[in-house]
Amino acid sequence: MNPTSLLVFDALLLLSIVGLAWASLATTDARRCVILFMAFGLVLAVAWGRLLAPDVALAEAAIGAGLSGALLLAAAHGQPRPLPPESTNAPRNHGAAGVGVVLRWAVTLLCTALAGTLAWALLQVFSSTPHDMLPGAISENLAASGVSNPVTAVLLNFRAYDTLLELAVLLSAVLGIFALGQANPGYQPAGPVFDGLVRWLVPVLILTAGYLLWVGAHAPGGAFQAGAMLAAAGVVLRLAGRSRIGLPDGFVLRIVMAAGVGVFLLVGLALLLLGRPFLGYPPAWAGALILLIETAAMLSIAATLVLAFLGGQPQSTGVKAAADRQCEGISRC
């Protein structure tokens, strides 16, 4: 392979990454900022692929380029439209224009210093001989982990503690969102064109989720990517204006939300009772236990991400139907 032209490819890719990050943060128009950030996510997915990180690329493609774009675009809709440039500057320039400029430069200078320090530290790390103890330990023990994809082995076996706590973080994020109020208003029913797309896209997304969950044991994929794909199916249904988007109601929803942490903990405690370390799977069972935990985690992650897109506690469909009926009785609302 010709290394120089690959280097040119790298340079252009990185140039577009820096340019997009800069452009999305340089504008004051919320929508433009979000659109540029979505392009940033797309290019990042290519960069992960280039750096031989297909697991990360899968997650970035599903989340960075898909879900978080939809999430931020929906939020940008609610923002006030940008004023023409003359009027935006006027109120700020009243008293503190000088201070503003000084602050701006000070922050820029400090951030540049941070980048310099980081770069210096990294170059120190790179110039020392790499000590590959951790990757070595992983490849030595991979056979006993129950899966052959090293990233899945790290996530669900070697560092299963971290993943358990991460699922707890996701759960607390949803609980925080619930505490802040009701879900966003739904979308108006889609036209026939988008509806036609949704009709086959949603089943394909669900199938892809199943495929990613299964393949994660021996190839890039796993619960996180699969959960994101399932969530994407829910978000697509929501965008198409459907009232039922695959989320269960009430109590069942709460069980699904907690399933990831719950199953993880139950497996860990059961192993403790059997005299093994917490989450120390017996090698013969490891594959099956990991698949069980991953299935539960996928459902929880999907529910979390869909609820994150809703931005609040969903009204249960029964209550909502009653409210709609009432509405129609009173007036067109």
Partner: protein, 86 residues
């Protein structure tokens, strides 16, 4: 063959840069969304080429996901939220 694939990847990169220019120029948000669509398609193409170049079959799945979710952004962009109150 690898040289040709690399050359094609550079061609797609050029196409992506032209799309980026349109994202920056606008003028409307609709124009920017169109350019995002182009960048997405260029990304899919690059992943397909990298999949052979770097011998990473999983990048085919990444391209598939990008392709499947390509319409989500446009739908989120044009979707009209219901106004519940009043």
């Amino acid at each position: 063959m690898t040289d040709l694939l690399l050359l094609s990847a550079l061609g797609l990169m050029l196409s992506l840069f032209l799309g980026l220019l349109r994202v920056l120029l606008g003028p409307g948000a609709g124009d920017r969304m169109l350019a995002i669509q182009l960048i997405g398609t260029a990304g899919v193409g690059m992943l397909l080429l990298l999949n052979v170049l770097l011998n990473q079959p999983a990048l085919l799945d990444v391209a598939l996901i990008l392709a499947l979710l390509a319409a989500v952004a446009a739908a989120a962009f044009t979707g009209q939220q219901q106004t519940h109150h009043d």
